[in-house]
Symmetry: C2
Subunit: 486 residues, 2 copies
């Protein structure tokens, strides 16, 4: 009837920690059992004794003992007191160190796939961030958003709408998105063609899941959107880069790729090519659709910032005239807010069903409260009004951004005024490696020129978002970039 416990228990139980004393006692006891410091059958001090040693209320110890008995860690041995359950196994090769092991100090002894050296997202943190073409979230009226959420919350509570629901998304939002795509983008769709996703990246990821099997080839432009390529690669795709120019993707190269590989998908951003901002010309669009028909591949059309086109109305997507060959991916991130993570895929119903199955595996469904709030904002016309308002703001920012680039960089930089989208594509007549290293050293965070390149000899440049920056911020950002250029 030795009572060796508490082993240094006093050091570990501390009323000033933000963990309740009761929980601290349970924790300490289970950990000591787990580490082999308390063998099965060992008798514990009485609750009175332990309470005295620890300077805590006896009730606290009684509660902890009772719970541990209920759970099977301890057992009551009548008048002889409380002991560690006899059924517990003897320690085999447990950690016996006295140090408390935390999730941060623990040595991970299982295998896991480490992240790449250069993360595919621009790091968050201190310093000045230049994005790749994000909207200015400050322009969206917070009160409008709050009201849409309030209405959706009350409606959801009344209609028992907060449950697990359709993986394809909120019926109201699927309907609203279908109407929007039909009337504003010429897509021949109804709600049954829509699956709501968590932003367009999630749409690309889900589309890739149903299209790509290990070893399949996916054609991308030599300069493209890295998270999409990462999604294809994660599925074991063979990435086939092809050239592009100011008219968009090199169609001959796509045909060549199809003759040599089992091409299952071609990923494009025809409206505003990512990162170069050019629009794919009509003849290439028609020829790409012809190739899709001939070689039976799917076109993943990522139309990530459709609304923002400055010199004409937005171009109709490939999906509007090639509905049998295109998985159309879009998002409300630019028009509404990135933070709400609402995107969508438009495709034939049988493909939508396949995508919905992948949703069930990936995350079950979306945030239906947010989806219902967004449906309200579309249905009431508020989102469209907001879009028209910010288009004006962004058009002005684009002009003054260009003027500032000219003023600061002169011949050091080469660019075309983007016809649409929220970013410039800048090519530098300077050592870009050195410039990017300097920018990093200065705390200037921006997407690496390497992040856009799928081949080592693709033309290098930087994609600089202008829309999220007010006049002062734009000057600051460009001045910092100019400084990095040396």
């Amino acid at each position: 009837m030795l009572r060796p416990w508490p082993v240094s228990l006093g050091d570990r139980i501390d009323a000033s920690r933000d963990v309740p004393l009761y929980m601290q006692i349970i924790q300490a006891l289970i950990r000591d059992i787990e580490r082999g410091r308390l063998a099965s059958g060992t008798y514990l001090p009485s609750s009175r004794e332990l309470a005295r040693v620890l300077g805590v209320n006896r009730k606290t110890v009684v509660l902890a003992y009772e719970d541990l008995i209920a759970q099977g860690w301890l057992e009551s041995a009548g008048t002889r007191g409380t002991r560690v359950a006899a059924a517990l196994p003897d320690p085999v090769n447990r950690h016996r160190s006295d140090a408390e092991i935390t999730m941060s100090s623990a040595v991970v002894d299982y295998r896991f796939a480490p992240p790449p050296e250069r993360p595919i997202a621009v790091s968050s943190g201190p310093g000045l961030k230049i994005d790749e073409g994000a909207p200015d979230g400050r322009l969206f009226p917070a009160e409008l958003l709050a009201r849409a959420y309030r209405a959706a919350a009350h409606r959801g509570a009344q209609g028992n709408g907060f449950q697990y629901r359709d993986p394809r998304g909120s019926p109201a939002l699927r309907e609203a998105v279908a109407t929007m795509l039909k009337s504003q983008r010429g897509l021949p769709v109804t709600a049954e063609n829509i699956c709501i996703t968590r932003g367009s990246q999630n749409g690309i990821f889900l589309a890739a899941q149903v299209l790509v099997e290990r070893g399949d080839s996916v054609v991308v432009e030599e300069l493209t959107y890295e998270p999409a390529v990462a999604a294809f690669r994660a599925l074991g795709a063979n990435i086939v880069p092809v050239g592009l120019d100011e008219g968009g993707i090199d169609i001959e190269a796509v045909e060549h790729a199809c003759r040599r590989n089992a091409v299952r998908a071609v990923f494009v951003t025809p409206h505003h090519q990512f990162p170069t901002t050019v629009s794919m010309r009509p003849e290439r669009r028609l020829r790409l659709l012809d190739l899709a028909r001939r070689f039976g591949f799917a076109i993943i059309e990522d139309d990530y910032d459709h609304e923002f086109h400055f010199e004409s109305q937005p171009l109709l997507p490939l999906a509007s005239y090639g509905p049998a060959h295109v998985l159309y991916v879009g998002s409300l991130s630019k028009l509404l807010l990135p933070a709400l993570r609402i995107g969508y895929v438009a495709a034939p119903p049988q493909v939508i069903d396949a995508i919905a199955h992948r949703v069930s595996i990936t995350d079950g469904m979306g945030n239906t409260l947010t989806e219902d709030a967004a449906a309200d904002l579309i249905g009431s016309g508020e989102l469209r009004r907001h879009g028209r308002k910010v288009l004006q703001v962004y058009a002005k920012r684009r002009e003054s951004f260009a003027a500032e680039i000219d003023r600061l960089f002169g011949d050091l930089v080469e660019y075309r005024m983007p016809g649409g989208g929220l970013a410039f594509w800048l090519r530098f007549r300077t050592d870009l490696d050195r410039m990017e290293a300097r920018a990093a050293a200065m705390g200037l965070r921006l997407a690496s020129s390497r992040s856009f390149m799928t081949t080592g000899d693709a033309p290098r440049g930087l994609r600089i978002g202008f829309a999220s920056l007010n006049a002062y911020e734009a000057r600051t950002a460009l001045a910092a970039l100019r400084q990095a250029a040396g």
Copy 2:
């Protein structure tokens, strides 16, 4: 200078459709070019003539022509009028049918992976649904939620917080979750150990992504959570089912599996086994950790409804005493609302970084507005208060549900009162195939008994959620189930 267009244009342009006339003209014209009905170089009617034929304002036609010229579909040939751009390719093998092709009528001519015959989510739709243990969303005060969102919206707008941010989630929520796990569940964590996910399914999916490579083995119980198994399978895992009993997973079988396979992960739900509701006994917990150490596998601990334990305090998770061996997955879906899709993974920082990389590929990040609102609800103590309130409600519902089962089914059913969680596991002394077919025919939607089974000879049963049903609904649901039993 023939002007063959408009081909049946009058039939397709219709002011009563909810697509603007301007958009309808653009659509019709591009589609006719795409289908080869309008060859390159073809002259179009003058805007005046077309406006007259269609009975629309001439301005509408002018705008459509101007946009199509700007986009390169048409070109102006001076006084000779407007023609289809000469650079457009001749049609190769385009669809020439007169029928309008929509995304629903289109024949998909690319390969995609079809969904399984039995979807892994219980279908949404009409009829009575019995869930697998969802909370009652109606018990959460909508106004509390609305207020949390309003505060988060205004704060976000002020702090420019609506942008693309850290894939690991909102700093406020990571901090709040870490504090909650530390003080209420004994997990030795800080915010750097937390990655916010879209519900626990997304947490399992992300954990699987970093742990499992094609051909690796994953051990699961013979009765388990199908969406998790589907996630492992999607990654090419070899699923190794092992037995379980009222004490939890069969440890000898796990050891046996480890001797024969490269086991990378063991998926368990130790607190309330899914679907059988039993808690894993302390001796099995210790032995499972011992095996993890010996064979170097990771334990994916899914603690999906931690708060709801009725006969003692909730049990400390494996992760609280085995932090080096466990990826801990949890969610606010049961405590708060499924609709908000907030879950989390707790793991060592280097594993969290690897998971964050997968977040970048999967969906970029979570809904930070929702995350900030949830952080408020945790920080203010509202969520905990709500949890205590509904625990009382659910405890009563559990009692009366059991009484109703006894009354209606008597000897037809066998079950143990669940010590925790929001569902009963029912085994029937009747032909379950026939019963489930009848339930389906009656419009009663519930998870198939097959959905839990990873081997054909696993014990069959139904998991019946009781928490989301008020007294009337519970009686209705059980009466329907009784009717299905024949």
